[in-house]
């Protein structure tokens, strides 16, 4: 029996194992994607005739060089900023055609007329820390998102998600085209109810 050699190991299934591992890693690893706060800068051309805005429709947020936050000239903690911004945006103190029928705020006459009129003005110093600025931006965006979430859930309870989730689904490239079109419509309705009017003043050169 000397002519009988060791039987060859069957390597046919090796490829299967390899593919199995490959697919496992494909599924488990996630490619890191950057994320952050999207903003749009105003175009360069000067507005010749700036519209007149009533004082009560502007919510001024100033971050000074010591990283203190001043809201309507009063010192405020960062953690209170969100709720303060929400109550300003959702105030709905306007009368007649300026009234806001979906606002749930206090309808204070000395605060904003309706969310469409309400403008948040953010001003920072050149010495402000970037991380503080981002925190403030984050809280202001959070205020808008909170209101948008509420309205989205109220108007479209059948979607079973909030505005932020819907927006995420809309921007997800894996979402079906038909679903996207439907979502876009709903999202723009909500965006119109609470348009993001966040104006940034150029920082003061002095001080």
């Amino acid at each position: 029996m000397g002519r009988r050699s060791a039987p060859e190991v069957n390597a046919g299934s090796m490829a299967d194992i390899a593919f199995l591992l490959l697919i496992f890693f494909l599924v488990t690893t996630t490619i890191e994607t950057d994320s952050g706060i999207n903003r749009k800068l105003p175009p360069m051309e000067e507005i010749i005739d700036p519209p007149i805005i009533k004082e009560r429709n502007i919510f001024t947020v100033v971050v000074n060089k010591n990283n203190q936050i001043l809201v309507e000239e009063k010192l405020m903690e960062l953690r209170n900023l969100r709720s303060e911004a929400v109550s300003f945006l959702d105030n709905g103190g306007g009368l007649a055609e300026e009234a806001c029928n979906y606002c749930q705020g206090s309808k204070d006459r000395s605060s904003s007329d309706n969310p469409d009129k309400a403008i948040i003005s953010l001003k920072n110093d050149r010495e402000t820390d970037y991380k503080v600025y981002i925190s403030v931006q984050n809280e202001l965006v959070a205020a808008y998102n909170e209101l948008r979430n509420r309205e989205f859930m109220r108007l479209y309870p059948q979607e079973n998600m909030d505005y932020v989730q819907a927006d995420r689904k809309y921007t997800d490239p894996r979402t079906d085209k038909k679903v996207k079109d439907k979502l876009k419509e709903k999202l723009s309705v909500i965006k119109l109810m609470y348009p993001m009017k966040l104006s940034e003043a150029e920082p003061n050169k002095t001080s």
Partner: protein, 159 residues
């Protein structure tokens, strides 16, 4: 009867290497997927601030990156410790930003040139003066869509 002669040679059969390419490809694919391509070597400290109201920045071909922060330890004796802008692999001044954006925009495909986003990857300790200057430069070249790239987390982590 060469058939029998061969078998009778007594040598051990060779181990099949047919699956070796599979293994190699598997490794290749794995590293292709798992590695994040970073075309810029950072010469600055870059601890991004945290935020939770964020949007994803996918489609990397539509993004122009601008980095800013203090030079990292090994560059500090040469460039000082004041926050600086980094474009591609070089330190730059505020005046270079406009030209950089225009050059980057020109290098993109034509249909993407209007939908580009500028991602600002700025260290949390940087002062806003520098960022305001960058923003002014971006406005001058009409690159209005920006993204403040952040970590995921809430504002209490920014202290």
């Amino acid at each position: 009867m060469s058939k029998f002669k061969k078998k009778g040679s007594g040598e051990l059969p060779k181990i099949s290497t047919a699956s070796l390419p599979d293994i190699v490809f598997m490794l290749l694919f794995f590293f292709m997927v798992a590695t994040v391509l970073r075309d810029n070597t950072l010469m600055i400290q870059n601890t991004l601030p945290a935020a939770d109201q964020i949007q994803k920045l996918d489609k990397k071909d539509r993004v122009i990156y601008i980095y800013a922060g203090k030079p990292s330890a090994r560059y500090q004796d040469k460039y000082g410790n004041q926050p600086r802008i980094q474009l591609n692999d070089k330190f730059a001044t505020v005046g270079d930003v406009g030209a950089y954006i225009l050059a980057e925009r020109a290098s993109k495909r034509e249909e993407l040139q209007n939908v580009l986003t500028t991602a600002l990857k700025v260290d949390g300790e940087t002062k806003m003066g520098l960022i305001s200057d960058i923003k002014q430069e971006l406005r001058k070249v009409n690159a209005l869509k920006i993204n403040y790239t952040t970590r995921i987390g809430d504002f209490t982590q920014n202290n």
